[in-house]
C-alpha cells in the first residue's frame, strides 16, 4: 500500500475525540493501537474535521490543537481553519 497516508497520535484522553472523529469521517481508515500511541492509516486521504472533533470532545476544538498529541505523519498536509487533511497529491 504505497499510497497510504498515516497519522500517529499519542494514546491519551485528549486524542480520543480526534480518533473517534477520524473513525467517523474516514470510512477506509484503519486504526491500530500500539504501546502509547495510535497509528491511523488510510488509503490516499485522511481528514480530521474540526466540527466532528468538537462534537466528540464536547468543547470547541482548534485544528492547531492536533499538534499537541501528534507523534508523526506522512502525506502532504492541507490545513485549514475547519479541517486538517493528509493526502498524496499527484
Amino acid at each position: 500500500m504505497a499510497d497510504n497516508v498515516f497519522l500517529i497520535l499519542q494514546d491519551n484522553e485528549d486524542a480520543r475525540p480526534i480518533i473517534e472523529a477520524i473513525e467517523k469521517d474516514n470510512q477506509d481508515a484503519s486504526i491500530d493501537y500500539q504501546p502509547g500511541m495510535v497509528r491511523i492509516e488510510s488509503p490516499g486521504r485522511l481528514v480530521v474535521n474540526r466540527d466532528s472533533v468538537s462534537e466528540f470532545k464536547g468543547q470547541d476544538w482548534d485544528v492547531m490543537e492536533l499538534q499537541l498529541n501528534l507523534v508523526s505523519l506522512s502525506g502532504n498536509i492541507d490545513e485549514d481553519d475547519d479541517y486538517f487533511a493528509l493526502s498524496w497529491s499527484s
Binding site: 484522553e13 493501537y33 504501546p35 462534537e55 464536547g58 468543547q59
Partner: protein
C-alpha cells in the same frame, strides 16, 4: 553484549467498566464522561419507600410523565462530569474576576450616569432572586429526577445559579460603592413592586410542580430562554448605548454561561421528543403553558425596562425561543 529494546503491547483485559461497555459496546475505550455517568443511577435493592411519598421508590422513573427506554440517552454535549465541570467553571471565573477587578480598579462606576445606575438597580439586581429560584428548581430536579445523565447536570446547574446570583449581587454592590442599599431595594421590589409580582408568582408556582420534567421545561428551557436573551442580552445592550460597555463586561459570564447551557437544553429536548410522540406532546404542552405564562409575567418588566418598545422585545424573545424549540422537534 548487545541490548535490544523492543516495545511489547499489553492488551488490557477490559477497556472499561461492564455497565459502560453494555451501553457503548464491548471493546471500545470509554471517555471519562461516559465512565462518570453511565450506570451510576441506583436501580435496585431499595429498602423502604420514603414516608413522604409511599407511592414511589426512593429513585423512581415514574415521578415524571416523560417515559424513556434508556435514561442514559440524555447526553450533555459539554460532557460535564465533576472534573470537566469544575475546570471549565474555574477558567470562566478567572475571566469574570478579572473583569470585576478591572471595573473596580479603574473606577468605571464613577463615569456611569445616574439614570443607568437606577435602571441597573431596578431591573438587573432583582434577578438575583430569580436565580435563587432557579437554584431551588434545579435542586428539586436533581432530587426527584432519574438517571445520572440528567441529575448530575442539574446539580451543576444548581450550583451555577448560586454563582450567577452572587455575580448579580456584586453588580449591586459595585453600583452602590459596597453599600447594600440596592440589594435591599431589589428585595423590596421583588416582594412588593407591581412590576415584578407576576414573575414572582410564576417562579413560586414552579416550586410546587409535581413533575420534575415540567420543572426542567419551565425553568431551564422556557424561563431561562426568555430572561437571559431579554435581560442579559437586550437590556444590557441598551445600557451600552447609553453608557459604555461596563455592564457588558460584568455580565459577560451570564451570556457565556447561557450560550453554553442552551446547547445542553437543546440536546435534551431533542432526545426526549424523539423518543416518543407522547413525550413530544407533553413537552410541547409544558412549553406552551410556561411560555405564555412567563411572557405575560415579563411584559411589565420589559415595558418598564425598555424605552418604548418593551412589549416588542418580549414578544421577539418568545418567538426566538419557540423557533429554536421547534427546530428540536417540538410542535410549538
Amino acid at each position: 553484549m548487545s541490548l535490544e529494546i523492543s516495545a511489547k503491547t499489553i492488551e488490557p483485559i477490559r477497556q472499561t467498566y461492564d455497565q459502560v461497555a453494555r451501553h457503548i459496546g464491548e471493546g471500545k475505550p470509554a471517555s471519562r464522561y461516559q465512565e462518570a455517568t453511565i450506570g451510576i443511577q441506583p436501580t435496585t435493592n431499595f429498602h423502604y419507600r420514603p414516608l413522604w411519598d409511599p407511592e414511589h421508590e426512593v429513585y423512581d422513573e415514574s415521578r415524571t410523565a416523560i417515559v424513556m427506554k434508556n435514561w442514559y440517552d440524555f447526553k450533555d454535549p459539554r460532557q460535564f462530569y465533576y472534573g470537566a465541570y469544575t475546570m471549565a467553571r474555574s477558567k470562566q471565573q478567572e475571566v469574570a474576576e478579572s473583569n470585576y477587578a478591572f471595573v473596580e480598579k479603574r473606577d468605571q462606576m464613577e463615569s456611569i450616569s445616574h439614570e443607568v445606575r437606577e435602571k441597573v438597580r431596578d431591573f438587573l439586581v432583582p434577578l438575583r432572586h430569580v436565580e435563587w429560584g432557579a437554584n431551588m428548581n434545579n435542586c428539586a430536579i436533581t432530587d426527584f429526577g432519574y438517571g445520572t445523565a440528567i441529575t448530575q447536570v442539574t446539580m451543576f446547574n444548581a450550583i451555577d445559579r448560586l454563582g450567577l446570583a452572587q455575580y448579580i449581587s456584586r453588580i449591586g454592590l459595585l453600583v452602590d460603592g459596597n453599600e447594600t442599599t440596592s440589594l435591599e431595594s431589589a428585595k423590596e421590589a421583588w416582594l412588593n413592586d407591581e412590576v415584578w409580582q407576576k414573575l414572582r408568582h410564576a417562579v413560586e408556582d414552579t416550586f410546587v410542580l409535581d413533575d420534575w420534567f415540567e420543572i426542567m421545561v419551565a425553568q431551564n428551557v422556557v424561563m431561562d430562554g426568555l430572561i437571559y436573551p431579554l435581560m442579559f442580552e437586550r437590556f444590557i445592550d441598551e445600557l451600552n448605548h447609553e453608557d459604555g460597555a461596563t455592564f457588558a463586561m460584568l455580565t459577560e459570564f451570564m451570556n457565556d454561561w447561557y450560550a453554553e447551557t442552551v446547547r445542553w437544553t437543546n440536546a435534551l429536548i431533542k432526545v426526549t421528543a424523539k423518543e416518543s410522540p407522547k413525550n413530544a406532546t407533553l413537552l410541547a404542552q409544558w412549553t406552551n403553558k410556561w411560555a405564555d405564562r412567563l411572557t405575560e409575567a415579563l411584559m411589565p418588566i420589559g415595558k418598564a425596562a425598555f424605552a418604548g418598545d418593551g412589549d416588542v422585545a418580549v414578544n421577539e424573545v418568545k418567538q426566538q425561543l419557540l423557533e429554536r424549540l421547534s427546530k428540536q422537534g417540538l410542535d410549538v
